[in-house]
Symmetry: C2
Subunit: 223 residues, 2 copies
DNA sequence: GGAAATTAACTGGTCACTCAGTCAGTATTT
DNA sequence: AAATACTGACTGAGTGACCAGTTAATTTCC
């Protein structure tokens, strides 16, 4: 989109792969928007964290709103491409695949996008959660634009592997599954608090072993 | 707390029950905070909607933060008392009660608090959702203060009626259940969009008939 | 191949505006 | 008259956006 030389050229030298300021701004946005929310975040803080002048943000991205969308777009495209790939892979391997790997494919890319990113600490997952649950038009349009298409793919997959599901129930199943996933993404620390430390919502793998059976069993109850 | 005469006296005359300005401010807060979020909401708009001078809000509630907590406190106390009552009722009626009514008791009071309130349109439910998922300290403290105690009651109830559940799994079960409930409370209109109108997240009763079996089956898969 | 012209990347300061909160003073109740 | 409820004008801090000007990179023309 607004990408110019500096972004597409990418003469990544060595390990550190010195990134463009363009990307540095997006990275900083992610952190600040996640911590403060859309309104709470300030262009000044984002600029400071990115190590650039505030004016540069308005140079690359016209406004706060455009910046926000660019940030969502970048990460969600990356996540949803992985999701789609995993899903296609599963559907092609078996005539009648299991539900379990499909549900796992729904969540794992989002989790790992949070972990792999240096020091990001699941910032984007946090943004995802608030965006998905928001009542504001801005966030609903983003959900529609960047997440509805992949949602439809998973809904179709649900119907394919659980033929008992009506289309309506498959949609509910998807919504409920996402809802459960939120508790994993939000990383509020509440599970630890409620369990005196027995549960840890920072441990993605532990959570997946709980969430996948929960959701699959729930979905089958709808079929 | 900050309550004075006007609030506790409550000489509710006739049908319309002309409410105090104190409560009018809380009602307006609910609507505006729900639509705009904490940072996005402005005292001006709340005052306007409540039909009072902006200064009056600071007279009754010292700050925006105190107002927010007062608003959460009022509604959550009302909802959680009902929840606790329903739960106790269920646990006393049978030696080994079913899981289903317990799960329903978890959600119905919140839903109905949204519906009964005139023209409120689930504003508080929306606030609940964003509060529960937020990473900010303010919202986590509110969750801890107003929602953790009732959460513990439901977790104990889960363990009682599903003896196969470990404490850790009961906590996960509760978290997941709440997660699913979010999709119902958030009222984003996404189910309708994804299903071409087949699903309606405005219809609480329809959703409960889907959600309760989903969650109960999911919980049993953890036991 | 090198000067000149053009474009892209970037800065620091500033603008008009909005915000939460304050306060002196007025109405209303008891 | 004394306390409580309430108003509306105000403030200082902070906001997103803007812009004139500087530097760096590319292209153009000889």
């Amino acid at each position: 989109m607004g990408q110019t030389k500096a972004q597409s050229a990418g003469v990544e030298s060595l390990s550190a792969a010195k990134e463009s300021r363009f990307d540095a701004i997006l990275d900083a946005s992610e952190t600040v928007f996640a911590r403060c929310g859309y309104e709470g975040a300030t262009m000044r803080e984002i600029a400071e964290r990115a190590g650039v002048a505030q004016g540069l943000i308005h140079y690359h991205f016209k406004s706060k709103e455009v910046l926000f969308e660019a940030m969502v777009s970048r990460r969600s495209k990356q996540i949803n491409e992985t999701r789609a790939m995993l899903l296609d892979q599963i559907l092609q391997q078996a005539q009648r695949p299991d539900l379990e790997p499909i549900v796992e494919a729904l969540f794992r890319p989002t989790i790992e996008a949070g972990l792999s990113q240096a020091s990001d600490g699941g910032a984007f997952a946090q943004i995802l959660v608030t965006t998905a649950n928001s009542a504001t038009e801005r966030e609903q349009l983003l959900t529609e634009k960047y997440y509805d298409p992949i949602a439809q793919k998973f809904i179709r997959a649900f119907m394919q592997v659980e033929p008992g599901l009506t289309r309506a129930n498959a949609v509910w199943a998807y919504m409920f599954a996402i809802g459960v996933g939120m508790t994993m993404m939000a990383k509020t620390g509440r599970p630890a608090r409620l369990s005196d430390g027995l549960c840890d919502d920072g441990d993605a793998d532990e959570m997946l072993t709980k969430i996948v059976p929960f959701i699959c069993s729930g979905i089958r109850a709808l079929g």
